[in-house]
């Protein structure tokens, strides 16, 4: 995920390099997960067999699942399967990992996307208001709010939001999930509170970053003075000139927070009963369902790396300096 710096040439020139990097990172994640799960204590068979397990049955299942083979061997088998698109199936209910994950990833991605949207939609105006009078009341209030969000665990925030918005005000349902395809409005209603809970931390990061970046531009960049000399009104300067240049640090931050959000959604999904990937991971970890844990982790890592790859590409598209690098400047 190194940023788009370094030697600059056409945005598509760097694609093969980036794809190779993506594959190597996802491979690294698979290796790390596999070692992590198999080298650690806890026997899958007993967990799956439950209370009627007799030693012979445990041994039979262990052999059937190939759990007695050395770890490298099992990793290669698993990897072989991955290349044929077969992630194996759950030990608990034989559901192909692919179905279980494919059914839930869109929910988590929607939640993360909504959370990012909320965070950005709130951070931009907040930062603009704060930066109009650096050190002013609004600036301190924004600082205070961001710090308090960073200091509150998301599960506490979630429960408090339930108490306020779902119970007292009855604006939103407490839990449950309506798929977007089925009923978009219902979907947004059920997704609102979880996304809001998830959006707290990124909001804090984004607003701090934006405020600092805009404040610096206002004091240090000459094109702001040019704009003022043109008679451009202050609000237009902030939105049309300064915000435009804050996009880049923001994009990097969005990349960084995506992996944070996917991790954070685990908690939010369990409180609001959202059928996302996070909860599947917790259930599969507690029931030692190795193939599902692996499948989920690979999906999450791939999603995070792809998001950052897209952001890298976007740098080229959004930043004219990169897009038109052949100029004679």
């Amino acid at each position: 995920m190194s940023n788009g710096g370094g030697q600059v040439h056409g945005i598509f020139g760097r694609l093969p390099g980036r794809i190779l990097r993506l594959v190597s990172v996802v491979f690294g994640v698979c290796l790390l997960t596999f070692v992590l799960i198999n080298a650690l204590p806890g026997n899958v068979a007993t967990a799956v067999l439950g209370d009627q397990a007799t030693p012979e049955q445990v041994a039979a299942l262990t052999a059937q699942l190939g759990l007695d083979e050395p770890i490298p061997q099992r990793f290669l088998n698993w990897l072989g399967g991955v290349f044929q698109g077969d992630l194996g199936s759950s030990l608990v209910n034989n559901q192909p990992v692919w179905d279980a994950v494919a059914q839930r990833i869109p929910v988590t991605l929607e939640l993360v996307a909504l959370a990012l949207l909320f965070a950005i939609a709130a951070a931009v105006p907040a930062a603009v208001l704060a930066v109009r009078k650096p050190g002013g009341v609004l600036d301190r209030v924004l600082g205070g709010v961001s710090f308090s969000f960073l200091a509150t665990p998301s599960f506490l925030l979630g429960l408090v939001l339930i108490l306020v918005f779902a119970i007292e005000l009855r604006w939103f349902p407490v839990s449950g999930w309506v798929p977007f395809a089925q009923d978009p409005i219902g979907n947004l209603e059920t997704a609102f509170l979880p996304a809001l809970t998830l959006a707290a931390t990124p909001f804090a990061y984004f607003s701090r970053l934006l405020r600092a970046d805009m404040a610096e531009q206002l004091t240090r960049e000459d094109y702001v003075t040019t704009a003022r000399a043109k008679g451009v009104p202050r609000r237009a300067i902030l939105f049309r000139h300064v915000l435009r240049n804050s996009i880049f640090p923001m994009m990097t931050m969005v990349g960084l927070t995506t992996s944070l959000l996917v991790g954070g959604s685990v908690v939010v999904e369990s409180i609001f009963g959202v059928p996302g990937i996070g909860l599947l991971l917790i259930q599969s970890i507690t029931s030692r369902d190795v193939p599902v844990v692996l499948g989920v982790v690979v999906f999450i890592a791939a999603a995070v790396v792809i998001v950052n790859l897209i952001i890298d590409m976007l740098y080229g598209v959004v930043d004219p300096r990169i897009r038109h690098d052949h100029a004679d400047a």
Binding site: Y223, T225, R228, A229, G231, V232, R234, P320
Partner: protein, 341 residues
């Protein structure tokens, strides 16, 4: 309080008020008084060079004239009149209608004066559309291309669609000038416009300013620390030191018959083409005063050869003819020693 200098009896100025007139302007930033009673007047179509070391307050004077004082800066005295209209007490909204239409500004560092992520055309069109909402976008584009031609930018339609990083420093400074002149302002403030450019581009830009001055009858205030630029291009010269004008007069008079020792020192500190090779560059020793605690009397006294007790005890008044004034107890006499021994 020195008497304001009556405008010179130029037939044109009698009818129309000076494009820019500062009288006893005082500006403070925090507890430092940067500008201590500056009076200047620039008739339309004329160029005044404001010369002085950095920290002399010349740039702050220009910013004050544009209402672009930094945070914590405020006008504490005197008046600013643009085209006869008093502007020192305008509100931000009122200033916005003046900036760009009545008065324009060009800055020192062309590489950073244009928004890197915006096309040249957009930044130019924005300036035009700001002060004349009635134009259609086609008319605005036409006007922009016309401006680009006026500032001698080759192949304007292609440049219109390009980004700042695709242009050279000189080219970008031309764009900034085009922006500043987009709404035919009365006054153009050029704050060290060529300092960051190489010598050849410097000459082109200054010549461009001269042409625009005459073609648009715009009054130009050229802020610079290099007195030689003033000699070649300006009609009048005002030398500033420690926030005050210490000598003001037509170029020929000030350059050839400087009366204030500091002006002479400024000129000799510049390498002359005909001075012998490897000759030591004459230097004015000492450093500009701290503007938070100005010394009594003439601010230049501590660094002046001719300083006497009177210089350090009483503040010299502006004296001399209406056309060529200076502020010094011991003005240099005609034919006096040119070079300090």
């Amino acid at each position: 309080m020195s008497t304001p200098i009556p405008a010179t009896l130029d037939p044109v100025s009698v009818v129309t008020p000076p494009a820019l007139e500062l009288t006893e302007l005082r500006v403070q930033v925090g507890d430092a008084s940067i500008v201590n009673g500056v009076s200047l007047s620039v008739p339309p179509g004329k160029m005044l060079a404001l010369v002085g070391e950095s920290g002399a307050g010349k740039s702050m004077t220009a910013k004050a004239a544009m209402g672009l004082l930094p945070r914590g800066g405020r006008i504490t005295g005197g008046s600013i009149r643009i085209g006869g209209r008093e502007v020192s007490a305008l509100t931000e909204n009122e200033w916005r209608r003046v900036r760009g239409s009545e008065i324009g500004m060009v800055f020192q560092n062309p590489l950073r004066s244009l928004n890197p992520t915006m096309k040249i055309g957009t930044q130019l069109a924005e300036a035009i559309r700001l002060h004349s909402q009635d134009l259609s976008s086609a008319q605005v584009k036409a006007r922009s291309l016309e401006l680009l031609d006026q500032v001698q930018i080759p192949n304007a339609p292609r440049r219109y669609e390009e980004y700042p990083h695709q242009l050279s420093g000189g080219m970008r400074q031309r764009i900034v000038i085009a922006i500043a002149l987009s709404c035919k302002p009365r006054v153009l403030l050029a704050d060290e416009p060529t300092t960051a450019l190489d010598v050849t581009t410097q000459a082109e830009i200054l010549r461009l300013l001269g042409d625009l001055q005459h073609s648009h009858r715009t009054a130009i205030v050229l802020v610079t620390h290099d007195i030689r630029i003033a000699e070649d291009h300006a009609d009048r010269v005002a030398v500033m030191y420690a926030g005050r004008v210490v000598e003001d007069g037509p170029v020929s008079a000030v350059i050839n018959h400087p009366r204030m020792p500091y002006t002479r020192a400024l000129m000799t500190a510049v390498p002359q083409p005909d001075s012998p090779p490897h000759s030591m560059l004459p230097v004015i020793d000492g450093r500009p005063p701290d503007l938070r605690s100005l010394p009594v009397g003439c601010a230049f006294a501590p660094r002046c050869r001719f300083a006497t007790d009177t210089c350090t005890s009483a503040d010299p008044e502006l004296e001399g003819t209406a056309d060529h004034a200076f502020r010094c107890w011991h003005p240099l006499t005609e034919g006096g020693p040119d070079v300090h021994e």
